[in-house]
C-alpha cells in the first residue's frame, strides 16, 4: 500500500505492517496503539502507571504498568481486561522460575492463567467448551498480552534470549476460567484463600497438556489409574521426577466427587500410583537418577500431592481431561486479586 492511501482500512493495514517492520509482533497482527488508547487502558486500573510490575532478576530488566497497558492494547485486549492482565503478572511474578529465567528455557514454557470469580462473566472469559481456545477474545488476548510483554518489554525473543527448542502449541494463549458453576468442588481461588466470587488470578508455567480420554468407565479408580498412567509416562521424567497436574473435565470431576474423592484425594491417589521402577527408567536411558538401586525399586514421580494442581474446566459433554506438565515444581502462584479502577 502506498503511504498516501487515505481509505481508513488501507491505513489500518499499513499501521499493522508498520508494527511488523518494527519487530513488535509475535507473528500475528497487532492493534496499533496511540497515547489515547494507552490512557484508556490505564484508566481501567487504579495502579500507578510507573509501578514496576514485572522484572527479570537475571537480565536486570523491568516493565511498568504503563508498558503492560501498551502491550495489552496491542494484543487485542479491551481496556476492562487490564486488571486481569495485571493480576496475571502479579501471579507470574510470585513464581521464582518466572523471575529467574524461565522464559529463556529450552522448554519454551507457556503461562497458564486461571481466572476465578464473577469477573469471568463480566469480561466474557470462557470457562466451558473449548476453554483452552480458540474463539474467545478475553481468553486469547489476556494470554497474548503476557507474551507480547515478554517479547517487547523484557526483550526475550526467539533465537536470541528465548532458546525454546520447539516451544509448545499456543504458548501465549492459555487463559482459562475455572468452571465453578459445574465443578463439584470449591474453586482453586478459594482453595488458595480468596473469597468465593472474588475476581482472582493464579498462574504457573507448563511444558505441555496431554489428553486423557476416558468415557468408558463409571468407576472413579479406573479413571484415576488412567490418569496416573499418563502422569507416569517416561518421556516427561527429568531426573527421577515428573511434574503434573490436571485440567479436569466436568464429567470426570463429577464422577470422582460422586465416588467420594475431593481434590486432595485425587492428587494423593495419583501421586501414590504415578510410579516407575528403576528398571523402567533404565530401559529408556534415564537410569542415572536410580543409581545402584535394584531394578524393582519404585520411584514415585510427582514430588507430592501438594505439587499436583487441579482446576476444573471445560464443557460437560465428554469424559475428557488434560494432564498439564508444570515447568519446575513451584506449584501455583497463590491467587491474586483482580483490582479494577472501580473495585
Amino acid at each position: 500500500m502506498s503511504a498516501a492511501a487515505t481509505d481508513p482500512v488501507d491505513v489500518a493495514r499499513a499501521a499493522v505492517e508498520h508494527a511488523y517492520e518494527q519487530g513488535w509482533t509475535d507473528g500475528l497482527p497487532v492493534v496499533p496503539v496511540t497515547a489515547a488508547t494507552r490512557d484508556e487502558f490505564l484508566a481501567a486500573t487504579r495502579r500507578d502507571p510507573a509501578e514496576v510490575i514485572v522484572h527479570t532478576g537475571n537480565l536486570g530488566r523491568e516493565c511498568t504498568v504503563e508498558q503492560v497497558a501498551v502491550n495489552a492494547a496491542m494484543a487485542g485486549c479491551r481496556p476492562e481486561y487490564m486488571p486481569v492482565v495485571l493480576a496475571a503478572w502479579d501471579a507470574l511474578m510470585a513464581q521464582r522460575i518466572v523471575t529467574s529465567g524461565g522464559w529463556q528455557s529450552t522448554s519454551g514454557p507457556a503461562p497458564v492463567i486461571v481466572v476465578n470469580g464473577d469477573v469471568r462473566g463480566e469480561l466474557g472469559i470462557n470457562s466451558v467448551g473449548g476453554v483452552v481456545g480458540p474463539g474467545f477474545r478475553a481468553n486469547a488476548t489476556i494470554a497474548r498480552a503476557i507474551g507480547l510483554t515478554v517479547r517487547n518489554v523484557l526483550g526475550i525473543r526467539p533465537h536470541e534470549l528465548d532458546q525454546a527448542t520447539q516451544g509448545l502449541p499456543g504458548r501465549f494463549s492459555i487463559c482459562i476460567g475455572e468452571n465453578e458453576e459445574e465443578s463439584p468442588w470449591a474453586p482453586l481461588s478459594v482453595d488458595l484463600g480468596a473469597a468465593p466470587g472474588a475476581g482472582s488470578v493464579s498462574a504457573m508455567l507448563i511444558r505441555t497438556c496431554e489428553f486423557v480420554d476416558n468415557r468408558d468407565t463409571t468407576d472413579p479408580e479406573d479413571l484415576l489409574r488412567d490418569i496416573a498412567d499418563t502422569v507416569a509416562r517416561t518421556g516427561a521424567v527429568v531426573g527421577a521426577r515428573s511434574s503434573a497436574g490436571l485440567l479436569l473435565g466436568i464429567e470426570h470431576a463429577t464422577m470422582l466427587a460422586d465416588g467420594g474423592f475431593g481434590k486432595a484425594d485425587v492428587a494423593a491417589w495419583v501421586c501414590e500410583r504415578a510410579v516407575r521402577t528403576a528398571a523402567d527408567l533404565r530401559a529408556v536411558g534415564k537410569g542415572r537418577a536410580a543409581g545402584a538401586a535394584a531394578d524393582d525399586t519404585r520411584f514415585p514421580l510427582v514430588p507430592g500431592p501438594g505439587q499436583f494442581p487441579i482446576v476444573v474446566t471445560g464443557a460437560r459433554n465428554a469424559g475428557m481431561s488434560l494432564v498439564v506438565r508444570p515447568f519446575g515444581f513451584g506449584g501455583w502462584s497463590g491467587t491474586h486479586p483482580v483490582d479494577g479502577a472501580t473495585a
Partner: protein, 187 residues
C-alpha cells in the same frame, strides 16, 4: 506516517553501549602453579566436564583447585558471597557449563562479573547456545565477549565423551585465561 503509534518495547538496558562493560582483568601470562577456581551449575555433565578440565590444568600447568562452587539455581547470577570467595581464593576461574537457554546466558554474566572483580575467567558454553550467550554479553555491555565453546551435545555424553570435550576445549581455555587482554575480542 505512524509517529503516533506507541513503541511497546522496554527502556534500553542500563549498559548496552559497546565497551561499557567492565574491562577484562589483567592476564597472568603463565598459569603455572596458579590457584584455579571452578564455578559450576547443575546441568547434566557440567561438573564432570569442569572437573575434567581442572584435572588437565593441574596436569599441564600445575594449577591447584582452590575453590569449587556449584550454583544452586542454574539461571541466577553468581551470588555475592560466592563471587567474593572466588575473588579471595583464586587467581583464575573456569565457569560452566552453559548448556541451556538461560544458564548459558547466566554463565556469561558470571564470567563478566569475575572480570569486573579483577579475576580472569573463562566461560565454557555448548555451541548450541551461542546466540543467547552473545545476547547476554551485549546486554551486559560487553558485546563480543569471548568464551570457549564445546561441540553440542554435552548432557548425553559418557565419561569418555566428556574427556574428549575437555581435551578439545583446553587450548582455548588456556588462551582465554593467560593471553594478554588486548588479544581478545570484547575488551
Amino acid at each position: 506516517m505512524f509517529e503516533s503509534m506507541i513503541d511497546p518495547t522496554g527502556a534500553p538496558d542500563p549498559v548496552t553501549a559497546p565497551g561499557t562493560g567492565p574491562a577484562l582483568a589483567p592476564r597472568p601470562g603463565d598459569l603455572a602453579g596458579l590457584r584455579l577456581g571452578l564455578l559450576l551449575n547443575t546441568k547434566r555433565n557440567a561438573a564432570e566436564l569442569v572437573d575434567a578440565i581442572a584435572e588437565r590444568f593441574t596436569r599441564g600447568h600445575g594449577t591447584v583447585v582452590s575453590a569449587r562452587h556449584t550454583k544452586p539455581f542454574i539461571n541466577d547470577p553468581v551470588s555475592p558471597e560466592v563471587l567474593a570467595d572466588l575473588v579471595d581464593r583464586c587467581d583464575v576461574v573456569v565457569v560452566g557449563v552453559g548448556d541451556c537457554g538461560s544458564c548459558s546466558a547466566s554463565a556469561v554474566t558470571d564470567g563478566i562479573a569475575l572480570e569486573a572483580a579483577g579475576v580472569p575467567a573463562a566461560v565454557v558454553c555448548s555451541e548450541a547456545f551461542r546466540a543467547t550467550a552473545d545476547a547476554m554479553a551485549t546486554l551486559r555491555g560487553s558485546p563480543g565477549y569471548d568464551y570457549a565453546c564445546v561441540p553440542h551435545p554435552v548432557a548425553s555424553l559418557d565419561a569418555a565423551g566428556v574427556a574428549v570435550r575437555a581435551d578439545g576445549v583446553l587450548p582455548e581455555l588456556v588462551r582465554l585465561l593467560s593471553s594478554p587482554a588486548g588479544d581478545r575480542v570484547g575488551t
